[in-house]
Amino acid sequence: MDTSSIISISHLCFSYDAREILHEINLEITEGMFAAMVGPNGGGKTTLLKLILGLLTPKHGTIKVFGHEPQAARKRIGYVPQAILYDPNFPASALDIVLMGRVERHLFGGYRKNDRDIAMQRLHDVGMEDFARNSFAELSGGQRQRVLIAQALASEPQLLLLDEPAANLDQANAKTLFDLLGELNHHVTILLVSHNLSLVSNVVSHIICVNQTVDMHRIQDVPSVADDPTGWVRLIHQQCPVINGKKPDEQIHPHHH
């Protein structure tokens, strides 16, 4: 497999005001990886995604995506946010929403036949082709989520970023989704945020523990994965700051303010 670098993060620190969210991050995502970020709420998972997208700027350190600044790499990234704000009555069909993944391709005029063919194909990939003409607003939460994934795929990305893609899905739909992502991973590098490690452990190649610092493990190096009674993910893995239970403050001393 080609192992060219997709995301390269070195010595990255990020803080909102005085509160340091991410400290001294080093991470290499190479082509073909399927990595899942896990960790507690507020641990910096979504912040890291936003830094990779160029929506936030690092205070220290560098991020390169496809060897460029994140802003310059944007068109090669498909992004599925955890929740987006939109009008519940927004007048658009599922196909209209998927086509927005190709909005930058033509400065003037409508979408071309080629765009619509690709959008329909992506709706087929997520099992939503029968709903192409349906109003997006009338779909269920899970169906909308799949349409938004189709939108990200319609942009023909080389890197797919997903923030909690299974948050609105029941167990069966979540499993279908992760099987689909496993399928897509043959062509696309995937980085996602997930709470449910038992669901993703069958498809991902890497687990990234994020809690102010990051630590990436190959899935085969993670001895076992277990759901604890609260539904939170517990990894039996001693070196990782997320797992061994210590607060990050006890381990590291933030030096940037």
């Binding site: 997208l53 929506l55 944007r74 068109k75 990234i77 992004y79 946010p81 987006i84 704000l85 939109y86 009008d87 009555n89 927004f90 007048p91 658009a92 069909s93 209209d96 929403i97 086509l99 927005m100 993944g101 909005v103 930058e104 033509h106 003037f108 005029g109 409508g110 979408y111 109003s135 939108q151 942009s155």
Partner: protein
């Protein structure tokens, strides 16, 4: 009916009917974006700022003899300036939006009052600008309105994909590498032109309702943006022609009658949709 007799006899009523047709087309198209983007608060500020431009136009016409500087041109300049000011000042939360909007709203009215005050001769009655004077539309006004409607139509045809994505979710558009600032700025300019068009029909104070209600009514049942635009335009035509004919026969103020008809229709359709949803739900539960 007196209206039909007068329509056949007098050119001013033919101009009125044409002016409403142009304003309704713009209202359907741009009103749909305003409603989908929930930006109706913009309209109040832009529409009241028109008074500044109208005051300037009257002053230049009377004090300096610039007869070509009609009130619709003054209104257009004021609308474009306030759209530019709102877009640039509120960019990236540089200034608080509510502060900027209230300042532009009241500054426009203040400038209008000042210009009217220093205009020599008679002190003008502002009522027709505030509450509409659709029966006074001149042939020149109609030509300017036609040009504005064509500009709006062409811009929307060219950039409709970007406008739709902007209204759906700004971040989606931004992450596709499109300048949301430029797209949003263009849309604000079109909103400003539409406000000028509709102000010719119902006046500055009543524009807000007429720009929002037709599209909001259509959004109750239309499922795609193009259909909201079409039905929004049809509703706007219906409100304006209905209001015009009723007010003409009953000798009521035109703008006010149009607005009352629009709000009443909106309420009836909103209630009908709510009742229908409830019936479907109780049917499903059976």
């Amino acid at each position: 009916m007196i209206f039909i007799q007068d329509f056949i006899e007098f050119d001013y009523l033919k101009r009125t009917v044409l002016a409403i047709l142009l304003a309704s087309a713009a209202c359907g198209v741009i009103g749909s974006y305003v409603v989908a983007r929930r930006q109706s608060y913009l309209i109040g500020a832009v529409s009241h700022s028109l008074l500044g431009g109208i005051g300037l136009a009257r002053y230049l016409q009377i004090a300096h003899g610039l007869t070509w500087f009609s009130t619709i041109i003054g209104a257009m300049i004021a609308a474009v300036l306030s759209a530019v000011a709102i877009s640039t000042l509120t960019l990236k939360n540089r200034m608080r939006q509510d502060t900027v909007l209230s300042a532009i709203w009241t500054l426009g009215v203040a400038v209008g009052i000042s210009f009217i005050a220093i205009t020599p001769g008679y002190s003008e009655d502002l009522t027709s600008y505030l509450f509409g004077s659709i029966l006074l539309v001149s042939a020149e006004d109609l030509a300017v309105m036609a040009v504005m409607t064509v500009i709006i139509a062409i811009t929307v045809i060219l950039f409709r994909n970007r406008f739709l994505a902007l209204c759906f979710n700004e971040e989606t558009l931004y992450l596709r590498g499109v300048s949301t600032t430029a797209v949003s700025f263009t849309l604000h300019l079109l909103v400003a032109l539409t406000v000028v068009l509709l102000a010719q029909v119902v006046g500055i104070v009543l524009v807000l309702v007429l720009l929002v209600i037709p599209a909001a009514t259509a959004a109750h049942f239309a499922k795609r943006m193009a259909m909201v635009m079409l039905w929004g335009g049809i509703f706007c035509l219906f409100f304006c022609y209905g209001g015009l004919i009723v007010s003409y026969e009953a000798d009521w103020p035109v703008g006010a009658t149009i607005v009352e008809l629009a709000v009443a229709t909106y309420l009836v359709i909103a209630c009908a949709v709510a009742v229908r949803r409830r019936l479907i739900r109780s049917h499903d539960e059976d």
